[in-house]
C-alpha cells in the first residue's frame, strides 16, 4: 500500500513525523497522535449523548418522577445503550489501540489513511444508527432481537460502524508488524500493548460474529430473506454482544496497568502470569454468548454449563489474576517509593488527588467487587433463573462497563490530555473530584439496579405500577425505593460525567499548551520523602512483600464465596422445576 511504504522514504521524512514526549521519552508519531485525538473526541461526544440519555432512562424508572412517555422511553433506552455501550467505548478503544501500538512502541502508525477511512466509516455508521433510532421505528433496544424489526438503516449503520472498527484493528496489527520490522523496541512487546493485542484479537472475533448475524438481518429487514431463527440470532448476536464486553475488559485492564506504570512506575509482579491471564481472555471469553441464553429453550444443559463457565471459569481466573496483580504491582511500586509502613501506608498515601490514579483504582475495586462477583453469579446456569431479564442484569453491566470500563477510560483521559493533546488540564479541582462523583454514582446505580432485580423487577420496562394493564401486580415497596435511589445516583453519575466532558472539552479547546519541559502538574506522583528502604532493582525481597494486596484479595474472595452460596440458598427456595 502506498501509505505503508511512504513512511520509509528516508530519515528526514521520519524525523519530521515524530516528536519526543518530554515525560515518557517516547517517540510520538504525528499521524498516530492526530488519529488518537480524533477518536478520543468522537468518543467523548458519544459519551455525552449516551450519558444524558441514560439520565432520562433513570429518571423515568424512578416512578415518582416517571419523566418520559412509553414511546420516548423505549426510543431513548435503545439510543442510550447503543451510544454509551458501543460508540463511546469503541471509539475510545480505537484511540487506546493506536496509543498502545504506535506511541508505546515508538513506532509510526501503519496505514494512517486506512485509519482515517475507519474513522469516517465509524462516524457515518454511528450517525446512521442514531438517525434510524430517532425516526421512532427502530426502538428495538440495543439487542434488536428478531422477529422484532428495525429499519434497514439501523442494521446498515451498525455494519458500517463494525467494518470501521475492524479496519482500525488491522491498522493496530499492522503497526505491531511495522514496529517489529523497524526494530523500534527490544524484546517482547510491553504488557500494556499485550493487553491491547488481546482486546484487538477478541474484537476481530466479535466483529466477525456481528457480521455473520447482522448482514442477514439487514437483508431480512429489506425483505430479501424471509426468516431469521430467533434462537440462532441470539446465539450469534451475543457472540458479538457479550464478547465485545470482553474487549472492554481487556482494554481497561491494559489501561489499569498503563496508569499504574505512568503514575507510579508500577511493573507487573510477573510478566508471565499477567500475560497468561490475557491469554485466557483470548481463548475463553467468546464462550460467553451462553450468559444470555441460560433460560432459553432449545439449548442443552451441557452446552450451557460449559460455555457459561468459560470452560471451567478460565476467563474468570484471568480476571481474578489481574485483580491481584494490578494492586500488587501498585503496592510493590509504592513500597519501592518509600511507603513501607504497616499494611496499608502504600494505599493511604497513594496519589488520591490525581484523577488518573483515583479513577483507575475506583474502577478496579468497583469492577471486581460489584461487576465481577455479580457477573459470575448471574452466569451460573441455574441461578440465572432468578435473574434473567430482571434489573439485576443492567445492574451487573453498569458495574462492569460504567464503573469499570468507562471510569478507567476517563482516568486514562487525564494522561492523554497532557501527553497527547499536550494541554494543561483545565479546572484541576473539578478534575480531582470527577472520578469520585462518577465512580460513586455508577457504583450506586449498579447496586440499586441489582437490588431491584433481586426483587424481580423487569428490565426495559416503562411502568412497573402496571397502571394501564388489564391485570395488576404490585412489586414490593422496596423495589420502588431502589429505583428512586438509582435515580439519585444516576444524577450523581451524570454530574461526574458532565464534569468529565466539561474538563475534557475545555482542556482540548482552551487549555494552556504544555511546554517542552512537560506538563506543570507532573504525571508521576512524588515518592515518599524518605526512600531509605527503596531498593534499586525490582524483584528484590523488599518490594515483593505485599501484605496489603493479600488482605484486599482475601476480603474479595470471602465476599465472593459468601454471595455465591447465598444465591444458591435462594434458588433452593424456588418452586421445584425440571
Amino acid at each position: 500500500m502506498a501509505t505503508a511504504t511512504a513512511g520509509l522514504g528516508g530519515l528526514a521524512g521520519l524525523a519530521a513525523r515524530f516528536r519526543t514526549c518530554p515525560v515518557t521519552g517516547l517517540k510520538v508519531d504525528a499521524a498516530a497522535e492526530t488519529l488518537i485525538k480524533a477518536n478520543a473526541v468522537a468518543a467523548v461526544v458519544f459519551l455525552a449523548i449516551g450519558g444524558f440519555l441514560g439520565l432520562l432512562v433513570a429518571l423515568t424508572r424512578w416512578q415518582g418522577v416517571h419523566l418520559l412517555g412509553p414511546d420516548t422511553f423505549y426510543l431513548v433506552l435503545t439510543a442510550h445503550g447503543i451510544n454509551a455501550l458501543l460508540f463511546w467505548i469503541i471509539f475510545f478503544e480505537v484511540a487506546v489501540l493506536y496509543f498502545a501500538s504506535a506511541v508505546i512502541l515508538n513506532s509510526r502508525l501503519a496505514a494512517p489513511q486506512m485509519a482515517w477511512a475507519a474513522f469516517v466509516l465509524m462516524v457515518v455508521g454511528a450517525l446512521g444508527v442514531n438517525w434510524a433510532v430517532l425516526q421512532g421505528d427502530s426502538s428495538v433496544m440495543f439487542t434488536s432481537y428478531v422477529p422484532m424489526q428495525a429499519s434497514p438503516l439501523f442494521y446498515l449503520g451498525l455494519i458500517l460502524f463494525a467494518v470501521g472498527a475492524l479496519i482500525a484493528c488491522f491498522v493496530f496489527f499492522g503497526t505491531l508488524v511495522v514496529a517489529k520490522e523497524e526494530k523500534t523496541y527490544e524484546g517482547s512487546i510491553p504488557l500494556v500493548t499485550f493487553g491491547a493485542l488481546a482486546a484487538a484479537i477478541i474484537a476481530v472475533f466479535t466483529i466477525a460474529s456481528g457480521a455473520i448475524i447482522l448482514i442477514p438481518t439487514f437483508l431480512w429487514s429489506l425483505g430479501y430473506i424471509r426468516h431469521i431463527d430467533s434462537v440462532m440470532y441470539k446465539l450469534v448476536w451475543w457472540g458479538m454482544g457479550h464478547s465485545s464486553q470482553q474487549i472492554n475488559v481487556s482494554a481497561h485492564v491494559a489501561v489499569w496497568y498503563l496508569i499504574g506504570a505512568l503514575v507510579l512506575g508500577a511493573k507487573p509482579i510477573s510478566e508471565k502470569v499477567s500475560r497468561v491471564a490475557f491469554l485466557f481472555y483470548i481463548l475463553f471469553l467468546q464462550l460467553a454468548s451462553a450468559h444470555h441464553m441460560l433460560v432459553e429453550p432449545g439449548l442443552s444443559a451441557e452446552w450451557k454449563v460449559f460455555n457459561t463457565s468459560y470452560a471451567m471459569y478460565l476467563a474468570v481466573l484471568g480476571s481474578m489474576i489481574h485483580g491481584m496483580t494490578v494492586p500488587g504491582a501498585i503496592e510493590a511500586a509504592q513500597r519501592k517509593r518509600g511507603y513501607t509502613n504497616g499494611i496499608f501506608e502504600w494505599l493511604r498515601k497513594a496519589p488520591w488527588d490525581n484523577p488518573a490514579f483515583a479513577g483507575m483504582f475506583l474502577s478496579l475495586v468497583l469492577f471486581g467487587f460489584l461487576g465481577g462477583i455479580s457477573g459470575v453469579v448471574l452466569g451460573a446456569e441455574q441461578l440465572n433463573i432468578m435473574m434473567h431479564n430482571t434489573l439485576y442484569v443492567p445492574g451487573h453491566f453498569h458495574a462492569t462497563v460504567v464503573a469499570g470500563t468507562t471510569l478507567a477510560f476517563m482516568a486514562a483521559t487525564y494522561l492523554v490530555l497532557p501527553l497527547i493533546f499536550r494541554r494543561e488540564i483545565m479546572f484541576p479541582t473539578l478534575a480531582k473530584w470527577q472520578p469520585y462523583l462518577f465512580g460513586i454514582g455508577a457504583g450506586g446505580i449498579s447496586l440499586f439496579l441489582m437490588g431491584a432485580g433481586t426483587l424481580g423487577v423487569s428490565r426495559r420496562h416503562w411502568d412497573i405500577t402496571f397502571s394501564d394493564a388489564a391485570l395488576g401486580f404490585d412489586y414490593p415497596g422496596t423495589a420502588f425505593l431502589m429505583l428512586a435511589l438509582n435515580g439519585l445516583f444516576a444524577i450523581l453519575a451524570t454530574v461526574g460525567g458532565a464534569l468529565y466532558v466539561i474538563v475534557t472539552v475545555a482542556t482540548v479547546l482552551f487549555g494552556e499548551r504544555v511546554g517542552p519541559e512537560g506538563p506543570k502538574t507532573p504525571i508521576s506522583a512524588a515518592p515518599a520523602a524518605v526512600t531509605a528502604e527503596a531498593v534499586s532493582k525490582y524483584g528484590s525481597a523488599g518490594t515483593l512483600h505485599l501484605p496489603g494486596t493479600y488482605v484486599l484479595i482475601t476480603v474479595f474472595f470471602v465476599a465472593f464465596v459468601l454471595y455465591y452460596f447465598v444465591n444458591w440458598k435462594y434458588l433452593s427456595e424456588l418452586w421445584p422445576m425440571s
Binding site: 412509553p70 426502538s139 422484532m148 523496541y185 527490544e186 524484546g187 517482547s188 512487546i189 510491553p190 500494556v192 431463527d229 430467533s230 496497568y257 498503563l258 506504570a261 508500577a266 507487573p268 510477573s270 510478566e271 508471565k272 502470569v273 441460560l294 433460560v295 432459553e296 429453550p297 432449545g298 442443552s300 444443559a301 454449563v305 457459561t308 471451567m312 471459569y313 478460565l314 474468570v316 481466573l317 489474576i321 491481584m324 451460573a380 441455574q382 440465572n384 433463573i385 431479564n389 430482571t390 426483587l455 428490565r459 426495559r460 420496562h461 416503562w462 402496571f466 394501564d468 394493564a469 388489564a470 391485570l471 412489586y475 414490593p476 465472593f560 418452586w575 421445584p576 422445576m577 425440571s578
Partner: protein, 184 residues
C-alpha cells in the same frame, strides 16, 4: 514498567512469586468448585430448567391452547374477559404469550406437579413469575415444556420481561395457586 518491554528478555522463564502462585491456585480451584456446583445441582438440586422443547408452528400452538381453554375453562378473571383454566392436578397446562398478553389465566393446586407448555405467537417474550421470581425466555415457533410444582398458594403474576414493543409494560398474566381440594 508495564509500558516498557519486559526487563528480562526471557521473561517466560522467570520464577513466579509464591504469593501470586498461591492466588492463581486458589482462583483456579474456586473455578472448579463453581463448575462442579452447576453439575451437582443437575443431579441433586430441584430447580433445573427443562430441556424438553419442540418446534411448533405458532398457529398450531394457538389452536392447542384454545382447545385446552375450551376443555378446562371454569370462569373469567374478574371483568377482564380473560378465561381461567383449571388444570387437572398433574396435567398439562398451556400458556401463550402474544402482543400484549399472557393467555389464559391458570389455576393450579399447591403441591401438584404440572407440565407447563409455553410459547409465543409473535415476538420473543419473557415469562417472569412474580413474586416467586422465576424467569424464562419464550420464543415464537418453540414450545417449551416445563415440569413445575407450585409450593405456595396465592395469586401470582406473569410479567413480560423481554421488551416486546410499546405495549410491553401492559403485558401481564396470572397464575392462581389454590390449596388442594379448594378449587373453584
Amino acid at each position: 514498567m508495564a509500558v516498557h518491554p519486559p526487563e528480562a528478555r526471557i521473561w517466560w522463564n522467570e520464577p513466579v512469586p509464591k504469593g501470586e502462585l498461591l492466588w492463581v491456585a486458589v482462583a483456579f480451584l474456586w473455578g472448579v468448585i463453581m463448575f462442579v456446583m452447576m453439575i451437582w445441582w443437575h443431579l441433586e438440586g430441584r430447580q433445573n430448567l427443562s430441556t424438553e422443547v419442540y418446534r411448533i408452528d405458532p398457529e398450531v400452538f394457538r389452536s392447542r391452547v384454545e382447545a385446552f381453554v375450551e376443555r378446562h375453562k371454569v370462569g373469567e378473571e374478574g371483568t377482564t374477559g380473560i378465561p381461567v383454566a383449571r388444570v387437572p392436578p398433574g396435567g398439562d397446562a398451556y400458556m401463550l404469550g402474544r402482543l400484549w398478553e399472557w393467555w389464559p389465566v391458570l389455576e393450579l393446586e399447591k403441591g401438584k406437579t404440572y407440565r407447563l407448555h409455553l410459547s409465543s405467537l409473535d415476538w420473543q417474550h419473557g415469562f417472569s413469575l412474580q413474586p416467586v421470581n422465576i424467569n424464562i425466555q419464550v420464543h415464537p415457533g418453540i414450545e417449551h415444556v416445563l415440569t413445575i410444582t407450585p409450593t405456595q398458594a396465592g395469586v401470582f403474576s406473569v410479567v413480560c420481561n423481554e421488551f416486546c414493543g410499546v405495549g410491553h409494560h401492559q403485558m401481564i398474566g396470572r397464575i392462581r395457586v389454590v390449596e388442594p381440594g379448594t378449587g373453584g
